[in-house]
Each structure stands twice: as structure tokens, then as C-alpha cells.
């Protein structure tokens, strides 16, 4: 028979002032299996814990119920106490008579009756508690960082500097991401390339970083400490060993297509390096546009290459690598403007997105840094900047604030004034949001020193008249309609999650929110962790943020990775699900409801009479299982059972509450 000891805590006056401790103890002594009950003013104190240990030994107690505060508070404390007395730590059961009784019931009677009921429930469960032993998991001392924008670069550098091997995977031919496309950065106006490029070089030269550009992660299996990723290194058509990066190949390539890096503002060749500071600074053949791959003829680049590095026959390389931790830093896209016809984007060449304007301002951009109208190459005299295009728009766009637009629009206004003397920046805004160090001051410079005009209100229509653009809107402060003639319109387009974010989330077993940004484990207290242990988030893929925030988050994610890889082994959570194969029908509903992708199907063979049958059952991966119990609820015959919270234990609790 189980010998249950009940220990009731006063929590000073927190519990004792409302709950009648004496009555609880008297009731506990009459409960089935209870051999001992006592109280203490502070059970969690050293004295309180010692009294528990002594009573366990003296009374030969085999299961322990502590009626005290929430298990979130002291379950771990008391598990250690129980273990110190020589019992399995999972023989402990806590009845929460503080948060559930004294704190929510003013009347002593109600609180006391409920406390007795909760103790009876805990006693019923404790009598069915089985010993649980956490498993020990090995850790592969290598990290994977997906995405090599500023967040991925920072995370990779920090992990590598801490002495661990990192594989940095980037789907584009060069690392650098969105930050490489930007001109200046707010609020200090230092040039984006000047601060980013050294970091890109650091990545390329770091002994602990293996760079996989033009590569995609196709599959991730496994669990914390033991992930296995399949990485496809797409063929560049270039032998990277032989190529010297001389650039002759792309000077002579006859094909011209829109450059992704230049946001379509300039052309690139079919064999190309995305931008001059690219890392690696070696070209890639765009097979969709290359004349040899589309028409079977050309080979100009191969003929001209002095190193003989161009090889059209090179095939994709598929790597399978094991990792202990993963950082997801897949970045963002900008909103497709199809729903915003009123701004004339795509119809008039002088209506630009802010990313296109960014390239126009950039010294290495299509105009060499001169702000010129795409339509006639003349410098604009008046430029209208329209904010919140798709952001804060529940009807057509995204309900959220894109966070960076207010600041970069102020930056654009300043840059316009610096580059085109006498030009007039006019900003249409809903609210100007500048929380951040030196941000409000930066905005003030735009208005006070650089004379940017801010009009509070939204634009209803942009249309051409002659060679200029007419803007119609409303000034909501004076409630008057506004009509302006301008030379250029720049749209601060909403940032969005990557189009494939939901798919990437499914691959990794991490969730996305309604806008496909990846979910952090806790919005305040676990902002870089995901719900899947060992997978961390950095940068815009988690939600809109600026460069300093992305970098800070990347470093935070790196610390989490390093903290994990520093451990010799991981202690598994023993309260995981397991499947009774004899009962499992193989309907696999549990695999569908599992938020952690921890359950897979498996084939078993069994004898039935003279026949040997093969059938499907579910199998739980204990490394991935977080013990949420969703499978156990979904399983109709009850084949899925959560250790520490078995169906038997929960039914016993229900009976104890009801009887």
C-alpha cells in the first residue's frame, strides 16, 4: 500500500488567514492512503523542508502531497526535497491552496472546503504516481543558422566566436540580406554597406563558420541537441575553387534581366554577382535566364573565363548535417501592392517603393547615388512620401505597424534635401512613431533642420498630369482636402513575413501567427525561443523590427545556442507521452494534433493466430515531446498516455473531486 504524507503550508498569513489549516489536516488524516499530515508556517524554508525530509524517513512515507502555492512556484524546490529524502522526485504532488483558495476566496469556509477537496485530489493522484526518470540526451556541438541577413550574420558570428561550429545557410548567391540593399541607416546616417561589409568579410574568414550560399534547407528532422538537416547547395555553374572573381564573364554575358538586388531599378546579366561587395564575390549562373540553359547555345562566359571555372554540368549538391541548435533568421518581404491601385504604382515610373528609392539614393545604385526620376532622368523638386502603405490597414493590408517606416521616411526626407538642394519632401502620415534612442531627435531634424513637411492624413489617389503627379488626400488635422503637384511619390510599403514562412515553419515544427511571422515562446519572457526546444528566432522573421533590434535579438539567440551547446548532455523531460501499441488503432490523429511534430507512424508486426500481421501504430519521439497532452486527449481508445499525468491518475483526480 502507498503511504501518503500530507504537508500543509501556511505561507505566513497568505494561506492561513483564509484557509482553516487545522480542518485541512484533520480531513487529510481521514483520506485513503494517508498515514501522516502536518503543517508548517513556511514549508519552502530550510526548516520546513527539513521537517518534510524527517517525516518521510520517520513515518516511512512513500508518496508526498504538499498543499502550498502554485507548482510553478516551488514544484522544483520540493522535488529536490523529496529526492533528498531518497524518494523519486516525481512521487511529489502539489495541491495549490494559495492561488486556487486563499487568494481567490475571501470567505474562509469556501476556501477551506476547496482546499480539502484539492488535497483529496492530490492524494488520489499521488497514490498512483509512478517513478519517472529523465532521459539523458546527447548534444551535437554544431549550430545551423538559416538566413544570412544582418540577424543571421550576427548570430553566426557570436556563436562562432564562442568556439562552436556554425553553418550559415543563405538562399541568395550572396550573404548580406536586406541591409545590404539599404543606403544610410537611421538615426546616425552611417552607410549601411560600411558597417555591414566588414561583418560579411568576418563571416567569410571565420574558421568556425561554414558558409552555404545559394543553398536552401530542405528538411529538418530530430529534436533539441540532435537535429538533422538536409541542405541543397544549388549549382552555381561555377567551380568555386577555380574562379578568381575577375568578372570578365558577366561583362560579356549577352542576357540582361532585372536585378533583384537593385529592386528592379537596374539590369544584371544571366551570369552575375548580385552586388560589388558580395560574399562570396564569385558569380552564379541564373539558369532560368541563361541563353545556354534556355536555348542550348551561347557559352560566351565559358569561352572567356581565363580560369576555366564555368561548368554548366555542375549539379546541385545535397548535404545532410547534424546540429544541436538552429537559429531561424529568414527575414522579410515587402507587401505586394496589387490591392493599392490608387497610388499608381506600376502604372507610373515615378511612383516608387521605399526600397527602390533606397537604391536610387545609394552611391552604388543604378544612378550612382543621384536622385533622378526614372521617367525622364531629371532631379525631382517635390517628393511625396506616403506612409503606412499596407501597414495598419485591416481592410486591405496588414493590421500591424511595420515599425521601421516612420524612421526611414524621415531618413529619406533628409537624404533628399542633402542630395537635391532645394527639393521639397512632403510626408503623409497617420501617426509618427519614433520610440527608440535618438529616434525622436532624428525625426525632429528632418522637420526642423531639413524642412520636411508632414501632413497628417491619408492619400486617396495618385495620378499623372503632364509630366508630374497629382496627389489627392485629406489633411485630417484641418479636415480639408489636399491636392498637390509632385515629381515623385515614394510609398512606405508594409513589411511582411516571407511568402514561404508557413512552409518553413511546418518544416521546423514551429508556429506562425496570423501574419505568418514566427511565434516566440513567450512574448515578453522568452522572446527568442520558439515552442520547439533548440530552435531560436532572430530578426524580422519573428516580427517587424529595425537593425539594432534585429542584431540584439540575434546576439540573444546566439547566447541561447551557446548555453545549450555548452552542456555535456540534456536532461529530458520525463513527463512525455507514450503509446500502448497493443491498443493503438493507427488512426494517426495524434500526429495531426501534435504541435511539436513529435509523433510519427511506425510499422509493427504481430502474431494473430497463425497469421503474422503488419500494422501501423503511432510512436512518440521523447526528445521532441513537450508533454502537452494534446495526443492523449485526441486518442479515443486512450492508447496515448502522458507519463506523470496518465489517464488513470486524472480519472482518480476527477473521482476525488466529485465524490
Amino acid at each position: 500500500m502507498k503511504r501518503v504524507g500530507v504537508f500543509v503550508c501556511w505561507c505566513g498569513s497568505n494561506i492561513a488567514a483564509t484557509v482553516d489549516i487545522e480542518r485541512v489536516i484533520a480531513a487529510a488524516r481521514k483520506m485513503p492512503n494517508v498515514v501522516y499530515a502536518s503543517d508548517n508556517k513556511y514549508m519552502c524554508s530550510e526548516l520546513g523542508q527539513a521537517s518534510i525530509r524527517e517525516s518521510i524517513e520517520k513515518e516511512n512515507i512513500t508518496r508526498v502531497v504538499i498543499a502550498s502555492c502554485s507548482p510553478r512556484m516551488h514544484e522544483n524546490t520540493f522535488r529536490k526535497t523529496v529526492a533528498a529524502a531518497g524518494l523519486n522526485p516525481f512521487y511529489l504532488e502539489i495541491a495549490n491552496i494559495r492561488e486556487h483558495c486563499s487568494w481567490v476566496h475571501k470567505e474562509g469556509e469556501v476556501g477551506t472546503v476547496k482546499a480539502i477537496s484539492l488535497v483529496r485530489t492530490a492524494v488520489a493522484k499521488a497514490a498512483r504516481n509512478e517513478p519517472l526518470t529523465p532521459s539523458s540526451l546527447q548534444i551535437t556541438k554544431r549550430a545551423l543558422v538559416i538566413g544570412a541577413g544582418i540577424a543571421g550574420i550576427q548570430a553566426a558570428l557570436d556563436i562562432a566566436d564562442s568556439g562552436y561550429q556554425v553553418d550559415l545557410v543563405e538562399k541568395e548567391p550572396s550573404i548580406g540580406g536586406r541591409m545590404a540593399q539599404l543606403d544610410k541607416t537611421f538615426p546616425t546616417l552611417d552607410c549601411s554597406a560600411c558597417i555591414l561589409t566588414p561583418k560579411m568579410v568576418d563571416v567569410a574568414q571565420h574558421d568556425n563558420i561554414t558558409l552555404h550560399t545559394y543553398s536552401v534547407v530542405e528538411k529538418v528532422d530530430g529534436y533539441v541537441g540532435n537535429f538533422t538537416a538536409t541542405i541543397r547547395k544549388k549549382s552555381r555553374g561555377i567551380d568555386m575553387e577555380k574562379c578568381t572573381g575577375c568578372g570578365i564573364c558577366y561583362e560579356k554575358c549577352p542576357v540582361k534581366v532585372d536585378s533583384e538586388f537593385e529592386a528592379g531599378m537596374a539590369k544584371r546579366r544571366a551570369i552575375y554577382v548580385p552586388f560589388p561587395q558580395a560574399v562570396p564575390n564569385k558569380p552564379v549562373i541564373d539558369r532560368e535566364n541563361c541563353r545556354y540553359f534556355t536555348q542550348g547555345k551561347c557559352k560566351v562566359c565559358q569561352k572567356l573565363c581565363p580560369a576555366g571555372a564555368v561548368d554548366y554540368e555542375l549539379e546541385d549538391e545535397v548535404l545532410t548535417v547534424e546540429y544541436g541548435a538552429i537559429v531561424v533568421a529568414t527575414g522579410f518581404d515587402i507587401l505586394d501592392l496589387q490591392a493599392y491601385g490608387e497610388y499608381g504604382y506600376g502604372k507610373h515610373p515615378d511612383v516608387l517603393t521605399s526600397l527602390e528609392f533606397e537604391r536610387l539614393v545609394n552611391a552604388s545604385g543604378p544612378t550612382g547615388g543621384k536622385i533622378l526620376r526614372p521617367s525622364d532622368g531629371k532631379p525631382p523638386r517635390t517628393v511625396a512620401f506616403i506612409q503606412c502603405v499596407g501597414s495598419r490597414d485591416q481592410a486591405k493590408g496588414k493590421a500591424y505597424c511595420s515599425k521601421v517606416c516612420c524612421m526611414y521616411t524621415a531618413k529619406h526626407a533628409i537624404l533628399l534635401r542633402e542630395k537635391v538642394p532645394g527639393a521639397k519632401p512632403i510626408v503623409f502620415y497617420i501617426d509618427v512613431r519614433t520610440p527608440g534612442k535618438d529616434y525622436e531627435e532624428f525625426y525632429n531634424r528632418a522637420t526642423d533642420e531639413y524642412g520636411a513637411t508632414y501632413i497628417r492624413g491619408q492619400v486617396g489617389k495618385v495620378y499623372p498630369e503632364g509630366d508630374r503627379l497629382i496627389i489627392r488626400g485629406v489633411d485630417s488635422l484641418s479636415a480639408r482636402p489636399v491636392e498637390l503637384e509632385v515629381d515623385m511619390v515614394v510609398l512606405a510599403v508594409a513589411v511582411t513575413a516571407r511568402a514561404d514562412a508557413a512552409g518553413v515553419g511546418r518544416m521546423l515544427g514551429i508556429t506562425t501567427n496570423a501574419h505568418q511571422f514566427f511565434n516566440e515562446a513567450h512574448p515578453k519572457l522568452r522572446p527568442v525561443e520558439t515552442h520547439s526546444a533548440g530552435i531560436y528566432l532572430a530578426g524580422m522573421c519573428q516580427g517587424p523590427k529595425d537593425i539594432p533590434e534585429a542584431v540584439a535579438q540575434a546576439s540573444a539567440a546566439a547566447v541561447k545556442v551557446v548555453g545549450l551547446l555548452n552542456k555535456d548532455s540534456l536532461v529530458g523531460n520525463p513527463t512525455v507521452a507514450n503509446v500502448d501499441e497493443s491498443m493503438c488503432s493507427g488512426c494517426l490523429e495524434c500526429t495531426q494534433v501534435c504541435p511539436y511534430d513529435a509523433i510519427k507512424e511506425k510499422s509493427i508486426t504481430e502474431r494473430r493466430g497463425r497469421e503474422t500481421l503488419t500494422r501501423t501504430v503511432a510512436e512518440v519521439n521523447e526528445g521532441l515531446c513537450q508533454g502537452c497532452g494534446a495526443c492523449s486527449v485526441a486518442c479515443r481508445p486512450g492508447a496515448n498516455n502522458l507519463k506523470g499525468f496518465t489517464n488513470e491518475q486524472i480519472l482518480a483526480e476527477v473521482d476525488a473531486v466529485c465524490l
Binding site: C587, C594, R608, P637
Partner: protein
């Protein structure tokens, strides 16, 4: 060639050509209203197959056992039966390649109780469907009598939405048209309108009749677990005592286990010897799920995922929000 002859020919051909090593169909019984299942491994047995307006049993569930000892089973299926097939496919209980489905369009089946009530039971030898009529073959001088089929259909057939098989490999006969004559949700709304006390008394009365015979579970294609929780002793989910609370518990758990999975075939209610309106519970749940997760009909497409059988972060958290 009538449907009985077509069924026989088809079954014989399947077994002779070894397309399947088992054919499951309906046979004729001693009485006009019987249609016991037939399990044929030999073409010679095909002559025992019979089509009648009483082939109400869904043969799909026999597959669970039969496919353990047979490579491939051919099965005759009506529209409602095919939703059961889809249920089993979706639950991964059978493989589509292991079954050969012979579709049988069905314009509605006859209700012996209604024939009885009209005084036709004694001396009735055979009932045949002809257009909108049933032809009753009677003992004695009268011989045959034609009655309107609509008056003698099973209640559940009056609510039928899928008279033609949804999934099949071959189809016998022509597809039939049979629009719903009754709104199956009408009763749910009626019961729902009752004041709480009255509703509780209503269900107490209905569920107190339950004799725990488990016919509703046994006939249900969604109840296909290897080991049903009602048969388990440890843990003992539901007590065996003959008391109302245990009866309520059984019926509520049964309906929860098929929530979002019920194919709306009405077999549980038809099989119930105590006339408990089980479909009112099942359909109330269907209605609730539609409100919560949008229109969903179980057993239509085996590749989709039942609303309660999936995890999505954005699912409504109805309980906590109220």
C-alpha cells in the same frame, strides 16, 4: 438485367478473375425484411446475393477484420456506405488499394415498422422497388399490391443527401436523384428551443432507456478502435452500473468520440432498440462544429482533416474566451 442479377454477375466475375479474394455483399434471408451479409470467396456463392429495399447494413466495417486474412476485398456500397468507407480511409484503418468498391445507387430503403403499422407485415413475401412505388408480393389470392414508396421509407432515407456512392471503382445501374425531403437539422433546432430544465428532462427520459447494448457503437463506421474504451476495465472510464449517470456518461462520450467524424448516416439511431434519438445529439455537435470551424461534412473527402483532428495556432479558443 435487374440489380440482383448485376450484383451476382459482378461478384462471380471478380472472384473468377481473382481481382479480389473476397466479396462482401447482401444475401436474402428467410423473411422478406432480412438481408444478412454474405462473405464470398468462391464464384459459386454469388447466386446467393440479393438486392432488396432492405439492404440497410453498411458492410464497410467488416473490412477491419476481413482484410487481416484477405489480400483484397470487393464490397458493395450505397451512398451512405461510401461515407463510411471514407471514414475508415481517413482513420487509416483500411488501404484504398485493398478494397474494390462496387457502387450501388440507392433511392431509399424500406422501413419494416412502417409496413407493419400499415398492416402489411404478416403474409408479406417480398418487397421490390419500382420507380416511385414498392411492389408488395403477398401470400394468398391478392398476389401483388403497389404502394407509394415515399410512405414506407426509413426516416433516415428521407433525410438522405448522398443517394449515389461518393467513391467507387464500378457503378451498377443508373445514378438516382433523391433530394432531401426533410431537413435533418429541424429536430436539433426544435430540441434546442426548449428551456434548459425541459431539455434536461427530455434527455434524462431518452437516455434512461439505454440498456448499454452498444448496438449504436457496433454499427458505427466511426467507432473503429481496436479496443473501445467502453470495453476497458483499467482505467475504468465509465461504470457498468445500471444507473442514469452512467448511461448519460456512455452516450455523451460516444458522441464526443465521433465529434467532427460522424458521417451522418443515421445507423446508430436506426440500430437502437430503445428508440433513443441519437442523431439529435450527433447533429447538434455537427451544428456546433460548423459554427466554430465552418462548414464541414465528414466522410466526403478522405484526404481532408477533421476540424477536431488538427492543431492550428489560430483555432478559436472558445472555452477561454467566454
Amino acid at each position: 438485367m435487374n440489380l440482383t442479377e448485376k450484383m451476382r454477375q459482378e461478384a462471380a466475375q471478380i472472384l473468377e478473375s481473382k481481382e479480389a479474394d473476397l466479396v462482401i455483399g447482401w444475401g436474402g434471408g428467410e423473411y422478406y425484411w432480412q438481408s444478412p451479409p454474405l462473405f464470398l470467396e468462391d464464384a459459386a456463392g454469388a447466386a446467393e446475393l440479393a438486392f432488396s429495399p432492405f439492404i440497410v447494413n453498411n458492410l464497410a466495417k467488416y473490412l477491419l477484420e476481413e482484410l487481416e486474412s484477405h489480400e483484397k476485398a470487393a464490397l458493395f456500397v450505397k451512398g451512405c456506405d461510401t461515407r463510411g468507407i471514407n471514414r475508415l480511409l481517413q482513420d487509416h484503418r483500411i488501404q484504398r488499394e485493398a478494397v474494390l468498391l462496387i457502387g450501388v445507387p440507392c433511392a431509399g430503403l424500406a422501413d419494416r415498422e412502417k409496413l407493419k403499422a400499415a398492416g402489411y407485415d404478416a403474409g408479406l413475401l417480398q418487397v421490390e422497388r419500382q420507380g416511385d412505388s414498392f411492389i408488395l408480393t403477398l401470400e394468398g389470392e391478392e398476389g401483388a399490391r403497389e404502394v407509394p414508396a415515399g410512405e414506407f421509407l426509413l426516416d433516415k432515407c428521407l433525410e438522405c443527401r448522398y443517394p449515389n456512392p461518393l467513391v467507387y471503382d464500378r457503378l451498377l445501374g443508373e445514378e438516382v436523384q433523391k433530394p432531401r425531403e426533410r431537413d435533418p437539422m429541424a429536430r436539433v433546432r426544435e430540441v434546442q428551443k426548449k428551456p434548459v430544465d425541459e431539455k434536461y428532462a427530455y434527455w434524462q427520459e431518452k437516455l434512461s432507456r439505454c440498456i448499454r447494448c452498444y448496438a449504436c457503437r457496433n454499427v458505427c463506421p466511426a467507432c473503429n478502435c481496436r479496443e473501445c474504451i467502453f470495453d476497458q476495465n483499467a482505467p475504468r472510464w465509465v461504470g457498468k452500473a445500471n444507473q442514469l449517470s452512467e448511461k448519460q456518461n456512455y452516450n455523451i462520450i460516444r458522441s464526443f468520440h465521433i465529434a467532427g467524424r460522424c458521417i451522418d448516416c443515421g445507423e446508430c439511431q436506426r440500430a437502437c432498440p430503445m428508440d433513443i434519438p441519437l442523431m439529435e445529439i450527433n447533429r447538434k455537435i455537427i451544428q456546433d462544429l460548423t459554427e466554430l470551424y465552418g462548414e464541414y461534412e465528414a466522410g466526403i473527402d478522405p484526404t481532408d482533416v477533421p476540424p477536431l483532428g488538427t492543431y492550428r495556432a489560430e483555432d478559436p479558443a472558445g472555452f477561454s474566451e467566454r
